[in-house]
């Protein structure tokens, strides 16, 4: 799949700009703070998954009411026009070939990208939220029809939290009666989301392991799912046999945990257990060390973190390429300048093996290693072919 043309209107610092891309390598050059990353972000947003960098409201140019993206994309033999209207607070609307799309999930069916930027180290070191988002986005990228699972879960959680918050002020009995109803809804939506996360994590693992070995030249990476309401055995069993995950088992596990913590939840006025608190644990074993698997959040060096983050993202790329039968678009934001020479060479090889890739850099020299391609120069929100 690829994007051939992208028109941005009132998007970030672009008033109106138009970019043409090559099917292979594209290099976006320009000084800092001109809008290079914003262009990558525009491509990423075409998959309907929102910004990889922050809330969607930040996508709209200062002073504008909405941002527009118009793209011509190709998926296999199909050529498709996609239009996105991003309206902060009122959601995003999409047109596919000028007809209203039923949901944003139908955009992920057309175009999917993998974004890797300098912030991606936080995937390893940062808060669990980033790792949950990575997994949840991947669930939709792999199976766009699962788009509804996260929405259903989030809405149910919000409703239940609102109820718990209001509980002290309301008459006791009826609140408890409806709480049971929301418990049931929460368990059901939570189990569906968790099953999807576990199965996509199981699918991702071998691809990440392979990439890690390639970059690090040895050692081992291991991913597992950390949850306060699922037993370690059930997680292991689910990751080993993702096709055999029984949602009703997950739902009853969540139900039992909620039952145990109910008093505390009523006291605190919010849901305290469930997928909203889960995490992905990344463990590393260095070659020739007897220390065994160590938690990357706590023990990995800068270099190991960088390698792990790259392995996760390129593992994502490989998984998507296999599942979708076509390579996703690879977006690399100012990544080369951060890498040492050996990782730089390794990443260049990966870029050359990819289909369409779009790279940004403030120093043109830094991406020359990736090869030559279509050059787009960005000067304060204006684009020109280099």
């Amino acid at each position: 799949m690829r994007v051939d043309r992208l028109v941005l209107e009132d998007f970030r610092n672009y008033t109106r700009a138009r970019a043409e891309f090559d099917p292979g390598l594209n290099l976006i050059v320009g000084r800092n703070a001109q809008g290079k990353t914003n262009l990558l972000e525009g491509i990423y947003c075409l998959s309907g998954l929102g910004s990889p960098r922050g809330p969607d409201s930040s996508l709209v140019r200062e002073g504008a009411e909405r941002a527009l993206l118009h793209a011509e994309v190709a998926r296999g033999e199909r050529r498709i026009e996609a239009d996105l209207e991003i309206r902060p607070g009122r959601g995003t609307r999409a047109l596919i070939n000028k007809a209203p799309a039923p949901g944003l999930g139908s955009l992920s069916e057309l175009i999917v990208s993998v974004f890797f930027g300098p912030d991606e180290l936080s995937l390893i070191k940062g808060s669990p939220e980033g790792r949950r988002r990575f997994l949840d986005d991947l669930v939709v990228k792999v199976r766009p029809t699962r788009d509804g699972l996260r929405r259903e879960w989030e809405r149910t959680l919000k409703q239940r939290n609102a109820l718990l918050k209001s509980a002290p002020r309301a008459a006791g009995k009826q609140v408890l009666e409806t709480l049971e109803v929301w418990d049931e809804a929460l368990c059901r939506a939570g189990a569906a989301l968790t099953a999807a996360r576990l199965s996509v994590l199981a699918d991702l693992m071998p691809f990440v392991a392979k990439r890690y070995e390639g970059i690090a030249g040895g050692g081992e990476i291991h991913l597992t799912y950390d949850s306060s309401w699922l037993t370690g055995d059930l997680v292991m069993e689910s990751l080993a046999h993702p096709r055999g995950i029984d949602q009703s088992v997950l739902a009853s596990e969540l139900g039992e945990s909620i039952e145990k913590i109910r008093g505390k939840e009523l006291e605190r006025g919010m849901s305290l257990v469930g997928p909203q608190r889960d995490d992905v644990v990344i463990q590393l074993a260095s070659e020739g060390s007897d220390a065994g698997l160590l938690d990357a959040r706590l023990f990995a060096s800068q270099g190991e973190q960088r390698t792990s983050a790259l392995a996760l993202k390129l593992g994502e790329f490989d998984l998507l390429a296999e599942v979708l039968g076509e390579q996703p678009i690879l977006l690399l934001d100012d990544v080369f300048s951060e890498l040492d020479p050996s990782r730089r060479t390794w990443l260049s090889d990966a870029v050359r093996a990819a289909g369409q890739a779009v790279l940004t850099s403030a120093e043109p020299g830094a991406i020359e290693a990736a090869g030559s391609g279509n050059v787009i120069e960005v000067v304060s929100g204006q684009l020109r072919a280099g």
Binding site: T145, R146, L149, T156, Q159, T178, V181, A185
Partner: protein, 203 residues
């Protein structure tokens, strides 16, 4: 800001559902231009609807009489009550011409975010009808036709818990695949529901 009466009209219009400040302004200036007779007709229609139409004392559907047309109609099956959220839902179900029973309008759905709990809905009145009274002597089935979204589902589950112990049959509208749709493109929440609600066909 416009001259007093104009601004007041804009403010009032902007309070209507689905009307933002811009549309309110557009409608207000449209109303300024139309003949007085036309404007009077509109204002009279609003006053009339408020004076003459109220909620049916039995089912809480809108009605211009004390009891609505469905509750009055002797030909309808009085053993089934279909529970909906809002009066327009009745119109939708009536259009199918498949349903011959009675209705009950909850006037909303449980939604803690909006501060709507069971006590804000017409649930006590529904339970009263199920216990048997003059207008509903022998209800044997309750069809819960709340919306197939999170709030509607929660309301349905809540009702089922309340009613089931009495031994009455409680059913839920099936939710699932749209007719004429394509299985491949169904989202998984919908498809999951459709699988749960599958039924035996053939012998």
């Amino acid at each position: 800001m416009y001259a007093g009466p104009v601004q007041r009209l804009i403010d009032e219009l902007a309070r209507l559902p689905g009307v933002g400040p811009k549309s309110a302004q557009r409608v207000a200036f449209y109303l300024l231009k139309i003949p007085t007779a036309e404007a009077t007709r509109l204002s009279e229609a609003i006053v009339e609807v408020k004076e003459k139409v109220h909620l049916c004392r039995i089912c809480f559907n809108v009605s211009d009489e004390d009891v609505c047309e469905f509750c009055r109609d002797g030909r309808r099956d009085r053993s089934i009550i279909c529970v909906v959220q809002e009066p327009p839902d009745i119109v939708a179900i009536e259009r199918t011409r498949e349903y011959k029973g009675l209705f009950h309008v909850l006037q909303g759905a449980i939604s803690p975010i909006e501060g709507i709990g069971p006590e804000d809905l017409r649930i006590t009145e529904l339970l009263g009808r199920l216990q048997g009274n003059a207008s509903d002597p022998q209800v044997s089935e309750v069809i819960v036709a709340t919306n197939p979204n999170i709030e509607g589902e929660a309301t349905a589950m809540y009702l089922a818990r309340l009613i089931a112990p009495s031994g009455l049959k409680v059913t839920r509208l099936a939710s699932g695949l749209p007719v004429g749709g394509d299985l491949e493109y169904a989202d998984e929440v919908t498809l999951g529901r459709a699988l749960e609600g599958r039924r035996v066909i053939g012998g």
